[in-house]
């Protein structure tokens, strides 16, 4: 059973797991992760009882070694087990998520964007679907509509109420009007995927997922957000925490290492972002020239007889390659870059949490020092609040370390997927081009053998 479960964990990275009781909640087009294939995401539901879980598979699930699985027909668990290849990698990955898998009982999805036009404003809402067996929730299923503002509210609430934890980032709040079309399909799609990821990360977190604000977000018909929300900026938050003005003397080594890592990592992310943008730009210029290149062959074909078909064939090939290239570039813009940028935000979040931790340590040390001095002076015992501060700091350290581990592990998975996705897209591009040129050769060679036989006749 262990083997099989770990297999499910692995494939779950690309599927939604649906709880047994209520049948399948088809959330439409959204999957746990942006699927490697971009494009059409067909849903193909298989319902099987494996202990208390059903599993839904999309039409294409790939194993870590890249072997695509054929479409699954409804099959028993054992035959599934027999058909799938097992290797060490699979097991190792499975073990990481095994624990969370066993206890996962909260599933969320963001999809179905809709435009709302009112006299005051135009905005987009998304459907947020929840399935859960937790007792903290009254019902097993919920379906609400939320807009970006609501996600922002949730994030701020989480940061306030769980200051010792790393809160996942949201996609950028403000976009330059006129530069980016806030209602274009691509923008909405990209934003929706990021919101979905945000919510899933929160729902997966062992502490954050139990936050009452999350509960409200997922269940309330109308979110009762406190007034003055718009004024609550990040600056305001940090002011709260800096109050007290304690200065940290020495950051413990392990947290220093984290800080250094984050600094370097965010630099590298920035570089990768710039490189990717440059590639997209170069590809776009290449595409422009390539298009003209194709038309020249077409116009040449017009003045030839024997060579007409071969030249038209070349023109068609070039056109096919143009299409494939465009697809590749679009994918980079829409799937690769946003995820990269999201991680930059994530790094900023993490740095923020580190700073807060430093604050809590500074506060504790400051108070302790003051208390010790007073004790030396007039034997006043160390007040309770100093102990509370120490507790708070130790809690913070422990939470942060746990979150750090989670974050590192998720980061590894995310980048593995991101980069293999990029490689896949490039491979697809070349495969398409190769196929086009190979069919051209067949066309040209057929003519040649035709000519040769007619010559000998």
């Amino acid at each position: 059973m262990l083997h099989f479960s770990s297999l499910i964990h692995h494939s779950l990275r690309k599927t939604r797991v649906v709880s047994d009781d209520a049948g399948c909640v088809c959330g439409g087009s959204s999957l746990n992760r942006s699927s490697i294939d971009g494009g059409k995401q067909l849903h193909h539901h298989q319902h099987q009882s494996i202990s208390s879980l059903s599993v839904a598979f999309p039409t294409e699930v790939a194993l870590t070694n890249g072997t695509p699985m054929e479409t699954l027909s409804p099959a028993s668990a054992s035959s599934l087990f027999n058909r799938l290849q097992l290797d060490d990698d699979l097991e190792a990955d499975g073990r990481d998520l095994y624990a969370s898998m066993e206890t996962r009982d909260l599933f969320v999805t963001v999809d179905d964007p809709k435009k709302h036009v009112s006299t005051m404003e135009t905005y987009i809402t998304y459907r947020v679907s929840t399935k859960t067996s937790r007792i903290e929730f009254d019902l097993p299923e919920y379906c609400v509509r939320r807009r970006y503002q609501d996600f922002d509210w949730l994030r701020i609430k989480l940061e306030d109420s769980q200051p010792t934890h790393l809160i996942p980032p949201l996609p950028e709040k403000f976009v330059m009007k006129g530069v980016v079309d806030r209602f274009s399909e691509e923008f909405v799609e990209t934003r929706m995927k990021a919101l979905d990821k945000f919510l899933k990360r929160v729902a997966d977190h062992p502490v954050l997922s139990f936050n009452p604000h999350l509960n409200a977000f997922l269940t309330a018909k109308d979110l009762n957000k406190r007034q003055g929300l718009a004024l609550l900026t990040k600056v305001g938050e940090s002011v709260k925490h800096v109050a007290g003005g304690y200065k940290l003397r020495a950051r413990p080594a392990e947290f220093c290492a984290m800080g250094e890592y984050l600094d370097t990592f965010s630099l590298k992310l920035g570089t990768i972002d710039r490189i990717a943008q440059r590639i997209i730009k170069e590809q776009s210029e290449y595409l422009t020239e390539l298009r003209e290149y194709g038309t020249v062959y077409s116009s040449w074909a017009g003045s030839e007889q024997e060579l007409r078909r071969p030249l038209e064939g070349v023109a068609a090939c070039v056109t096919t390659c143009c299409g494939a290239l465009e697809e590749l570039s679009d994918n980079m813009s829409q799937d690769f870059l946003p995820v990269l940028r999201e991680y930059v935000l994530y790094v900023e979040s993490m740095k923020n949490v580190l700073r807060k931790r430093d604050q809590s340590q500074a506060e504790y040390e400051g108070r302790l020092e003051a208390a010790v001095l007073r004790k030396q002076e007039d034997r006043t015992p160390i007040p309770m609040e100093v102990e509370k501060c120490q507790d708070k700091m130790e809690c913070f350290n422990a939470d942060l370390k746990a979150d750090w581990e989670r974050w590192q592990s998720n980061k590894r998975q995310d980048f593995k997927q991101l980069l293999t996705g990029m490689a896949d897209k490039n491979i697809n591009y070349y495969e398409k081009c190769q196929a086009a040129w190979e069919s051209l050769i067949t066309l040209l060679q057929d003519r040649q053998t035709e000519d040769k036989t007619s010559e000998t006749n």
């Binding site: 590298k268 020239e289 060579l307 070349v314 980069l419 293999t420 490689a423 070349y430 081009c433």
Partner: protein, 443 residues
């Protein structure tokens, strides 16, 4: 794989990478190529004094010839005869052929000078990415240029040697084997060349142009335009593609730096980075190979000039025929007037005789006789010219048909080899990205 693949791959894998003349060309007739192998194997720099007694550096090319006989198993081929020739000598040979066989489409020579576009490409690569150092040469001694020219010269010789008419030319044979200078100068073709140049650059209009030649000229103009355009755009495409590949090299560096701060991800990232470097480096060879396709196109670009040359020569002959016919008609009319006494055609003699009195019967008769003579000569001239014209049209059109067939076959093969290059590029791309993917998977 189909036999054509094998044929092309063996051609492409040879050093010169210029397409072999189509097999059917070599089989036809008694071509020189059946008797001897011709190769332009090397290039060397020489310095010497030129005609104005100034030092100059130039390149010479080594021509190797050996009898084309099958070598027995384990046997060594005969040592070739060799001699050195410089570009200007090739030019001389071509001019000689142009003049001597005006009805033949004479194969073109490769470019004389490094073109501006060629230099521009190199400068761009130099400053844009600083990945590849190209030695910037403003002269014809640039090694890449010399190498391409070597191939082009060999191609020229092979084309001439496989032509049913040109291959039998003695001067050509001597060009390949021994002192030819004196011989070629003996032919006195220089004078013919000068007069040809003069006449071809003269402005004249043909009254009844041959429709076939007009259509052919029009086609050549179109072909020239479209191939020029194609070469220009192809160069821009290559430039852009270079950029795309080279930027990926930056991934190599950043992955390497990033891997330094990672634990489990480090190895995968690092090795993926190496593959990105490989990817970026691969474009150099890819584009180098593509230059050979450009050379094949360029040959036909220059060929259009050779065809237009033949058309022009025909026009000239046609014009001369028309002039001769016109001249004859004029003389006949003159004779008629003189005989009947009516003045329809203006003549100075006629005018002066009107002004200064009639001429005597004797004078008239002697003039008539002279005219008769002139008319006879004129008729001979027209007949000759007509024959010349017809013969020219016949032989020229024969060669043009041959040329058209050659062009269609060569260009089709060029397109096939271009497609093969593209496929090879795609395969390399798939390989590199698959390798990178494997590394990412191990992260």
């Amino acid at each position: 794989s189909p036999p054509l693949y094998d044929h092309l791959f063996s051609c492409l894998s040879k050093e010169n990478l210029i397409p072999c003349p189509h097999p059917s060309m070599v089989e036809k007739g008694t071509n020189l190529l059946r008797k001897m192998e011709i190769n332009v194997v090397e290039a060397e720099k020489r310095t010497g004094k030129n005609t104005v007694n100034m030092q100059e550096t130039y390149t010479v090319y080594l021509i190797e010839t050996r009898p084309a006989e099958t070598v027995p198993e384990g046997g060594t081929p005969a040592t070739p005869d060799t001699l050195w020739r410089r570009y200007s000598e090739f030019e001389l040979l071509r001019t000689y052929l142009l003049v001597t066989y005006p009805y033949i489409v004479i194969p073109p020579l490769p470019e004389k000078r490094v073109s501006d576009a060629y230099l521009e490409g190199k400068v761009k690569n130099l400053y844009k990415f600083k990945f590849v150092w190209h030695k910037l040469s403003a002269d014809n001694l640039d090694p890449d240029f010399v190498e391409r020219r070597r191939g082009g010269l060999e191609n020229f010789l092979l084309r001439v040697a496989s032509h049913s008419v040109l291959s039998n030319d003695e001067i050509f044979f001597h060009f390949l084997t021994e002192g030819w200078r004196e011989r070629v100068l003996e032919t006195g073709f220089q004078d013919k060349a000068d007069s040809r140049l003069k006449s071809l650059s003269a402005m004249f209009r043909v009254k009844n142009p041959d429709k076939r030649f007009t259509a052919l000229k029009h086609y050549c103009d179109e072909l020239n335009t479209v191939i020029s355009q194609l070469l220009r755009v192809r160069a821009r495409v290559a430039d852009r593609l270079y950029g795309v590949y080279k930027v990926h090299g930056n991934y190599g560096r950043v992955f390497s730096e990033w891997s330094a701060i990672e634990k489990e991800m480090g190895d995968g990232l690092q090795s993926a980075g190496h593959h990105m470097d490989t990817y970026a480096a691969s474009i150099d060879d890819i584009l180098e190979e593509e230059e050979h396709y450009a050379d094949q196109l360029k040959e036909y670009l220059f060929y259009t000039d050779a065809v237009r040359s033949v058309c022009r020569k025909h026009e000239l002959i046609q014009y001369e025929l028309e002039m001769a016919a016109q001249d004859l008609t004029h003389k006949k009319q003159q004779k008629e007037e003189l005989a009947t006494g009516t003045v329809r055609v203006f003549s100075l003699k006629g005018m002066t005789s009107k002004l200064f009195g009639q001429e005597s019967q004797e004078q008239r008769e002697s003039r008539l006789a002279a005219l008769e003579q002139s008319i006879q000569e004129g008729e001979e001239a027209v007949k000759e010219k007509n024959t010349e014209c017809q013969e020219f049209v016949r032989t020229a059109w024969e060669d043009i048909e041959r040329f058209k067939e050659q062009k269609d076959k060569d260009l089709r093969e060029a397109l096939i080899s271009y497609a093969i290059m593209q496929i090879s590029m795609c395969k390399k791309g798939i390989q590199v990205w698959s390798n990178a993917k494997e590394c990412f998977n191990k992260m």
